[in-house]
């Protein structure tokens, strides 16, 4: 078990299974919001379901759409459980705050290398802490 500290985030504590890639993230260009899977062929998580997972990626990209879409995803039960990024931008933070989706960024280490897909992760945004239980 390891503990990674990051900047104080948005939302409450959750525990779930990680889905990880070193790619960047846009809700508009990367996801099929109806099916809840990554739909952009060039994305490393192409075809993977992100619903209910702790999604771990590098940086937020894209325009203003994410600010509305994260809440729509939460309401439609097609949202990740939490989102962890190395680098957030204002639009992604504005979207997470609107959706009240647990969201953290700026970790002491490259978060996409510190967590592997399948690990169990306890995300505590208010404490600025992520606890990782590696999949055996």
């Amino acid at each position: 078990m390891s503990v990674i500290t990051g900047h104080k985030g948005i939302g409450g504590q959750v525990r779930g299974t990680a889905l990880v890639a070193s790619d960047n993230f846009s809700t508009r260009y990367d996801l099929d919001l109806d099916r809840g899977v990554f739909s952009r062929r060039a994305h490393k998580l192409f075809g993977e379901s992100y619903v209910g997972r702790v999604l771990v990626l590098n940086a937020a990209k894209g325009g203003v759409a994410s600010a509305w879409m994260l809440r729509e995803m939460v309401i439609n039960e097609k949202a990740p459980l939490a989102l962890l990024l190395n680098d957030a931008n204002p639009v992604m933070a504005q979207g997470a705050a609107f959706a009240e989706l647990p969201f953290m960024h700026r970790f002491e280490t490259d978060i996409t290398q510190a967590i592997r897909t399948g690990d169990t992760v306890l995300v505590d945004p208010q404490a600025g802490r992520v606890t990782v239980e590696p999949a055996s």
Binding site: V64, A65, W68, P90, A93, H105
Partner: protein, 417 residues
């Protein structure tokens, strides 16, 4: 975050439910980015469309608009983009397709809350500018990058709910580009070569934007031999936002917070990356097609200013647009009307061109229009238009406005230089 008396009253719910929601929401974002306090804003501007709102976004707006007046009172000048559609143009471009609907419902909901429904963008020079150093809340990324860099106004990208929250509180969390430290240059670029037109300036924005690609990075461009005008800089700005997510840049000796390189960086500049004329030419060669048949010329992104509409009319000089080519001139409604009053619009229409108001070409059914009209080859003065329409299946070329007109007359892609 430190709260003033009025902000604390908002948080406590004493100023209505809307403000209470908004200030709590803004605090979450502000604390995420270590904002210490709020910055009061001059005004907030929001652009909205049904696709990005989604059903829940629309429901959120309509529920807020249905609250008692005291619960949804706005605390700043609030403007929501309400340009409508150019029915006459769309009768020809996309016959039989309903154009309004959920987008208009969203605009009307904000209108009921007290937002001014207008179609002015100050970066289109159709409404007055805020002054240097003032904070604002803008949702349109081209407006943010223009305001920060060229006017010295202070704004982050304030997307949908964030712009509404700013309307309700009259302020924004003070992080990002509201703070002096974040407005300074981070990366240094030296121009060798002189961009000659809007397409060249767009190419410079695309090259730098692709290179840095981060909201938090502020490119500083030096070595400009000829002082570019506001239109050229607007093309640079649009492409920095479109290709690199940038919200601010400096051009040394031109933009107000970069009297010299030292001023732009707040200290000695780092080693520069050189952008040569060959880099600009290589960028343009990504889009070729000289001599090929031309289906459509689309001027927009940014929509044309009145002087540019004059240039279109003067370059046409009484000639007719080729029968196989469509010439579309996107411009704000006020400018279109002013051009009608000035007699310039008639000159363009007599030549077979169309002045189109409303949302820009790339943002308004460009994909569906292509299918309906059977178009492929597109020419534009805007690199941003070329970038986006390529994703819609067009084969675009970005070129100087004069070349686009000559090509529209010839019915095929021609170059004058």
């Amino acid at each position: 975050m430190r709260l003033t008396e009025v902000e604390a009253a908002m948080e406590a719910g004493a100023l209505g439910k809307g403000a209470a929601w908004a200030i709590a929401y803004q605090k979450r974002v502000g604390e995420f980015f270590e904002a210490e306090d709020f910055a009061e804003i001059r005004f907030a501007h929001m652009i909205t469309d049904a696709e990005t709102l989604g059903a829940s976004g629309l429901a959120f707006l309509e529920e807020m608009a249905a609250m008692p007046a005291e619960d949804r009172r706005l605390r700043t000048l609030a403007i929501v983009d309400s340009r409508g559609f150019d029915d006459r143009a769309f009768e020809r471009l996309l016959p039989g397709t309903p154009l309004v609907g959920d987008t208009q419902r969203a605009i009307d909901a904000l209108g009921r809350m007290g937002a001014m429904k207008a179609h002015g963008y100050f970066n289109n020079h159709s409404i007055p500018l805020p002054a240097f150093g003032e904070s604002c809340a803008f949702s349109g990324t081209p407006t943010v990058v223009y305001a920060n860099s060229m006017v010295g106004v202070r704004s982050n990208f304030e997307a949908g709910p964030s712009a509404i929250a700013a309307m309700l509180t009259g302020r924004v969390p003070r992080y990002g580009f509201h703070l002096d430290a974040n407005r300074r240059g981070t990366d240094y670029f030296k121009l060798e070569g002189t961009p000659k037109n809007t397409a060249d300036w767009g190419a410079v924005g695309a090259i730098v934007g692709r290179h840095l690609a981060s909201y938090w990075k502020v490119p500083v461009i030096d070595g400009v031999a000829e002082r570019p005008d506001a239109i050229s800089l607007n093309h640079l700005a649009l492409c920095l936002a479109s290709y690199g997510s940038h919200a601010m840049f400096h051009v040394v000796g031109v933009t107000p917070e970069a009297r010299d390189a030292q001023d732009a960086f707040g200290g000695p500049p780092p080693e520069p990356t050189v952008v040569t004329q060959a880099d600009i030419d290589a960028f343009h060669r990504e889009y070729e097609g000289d001599g090929e048949q031309l289906d459509v010329v689309a001027f927009g992104a940014p929509q044309l200013t009145m002087p540019e509409v004059y240039t279109v009319a003067e370059t046409l000089a009484g000639r007719r647009v080729h029968e196989n080519t469509t010439l579309l001139v996107y411009t704000p409604l006020e400018i279109k009307e002013a051009c009608h009053r000035a007699g310039i619009a008639q000159q363009i229409e007599d030549a077979g061109g169309m002045l189109v108001h409303g949302p820009d070409f790339f943002a308004t059914f460009a994909k569906e229009i292509r299918a309906a009209q059977g178009w492929t080859r597109l020419m534009t003065q805007s690199v941003k238009t070329a970038n986006i329409t390529e994703g819609y299946g067009y084969v675009p070329v970005a070129a100087p406005l004069e070349d686009c007109i000559e090509s529209a007359v010839a019915g095929r892609i021609v170059r004058t230089a």
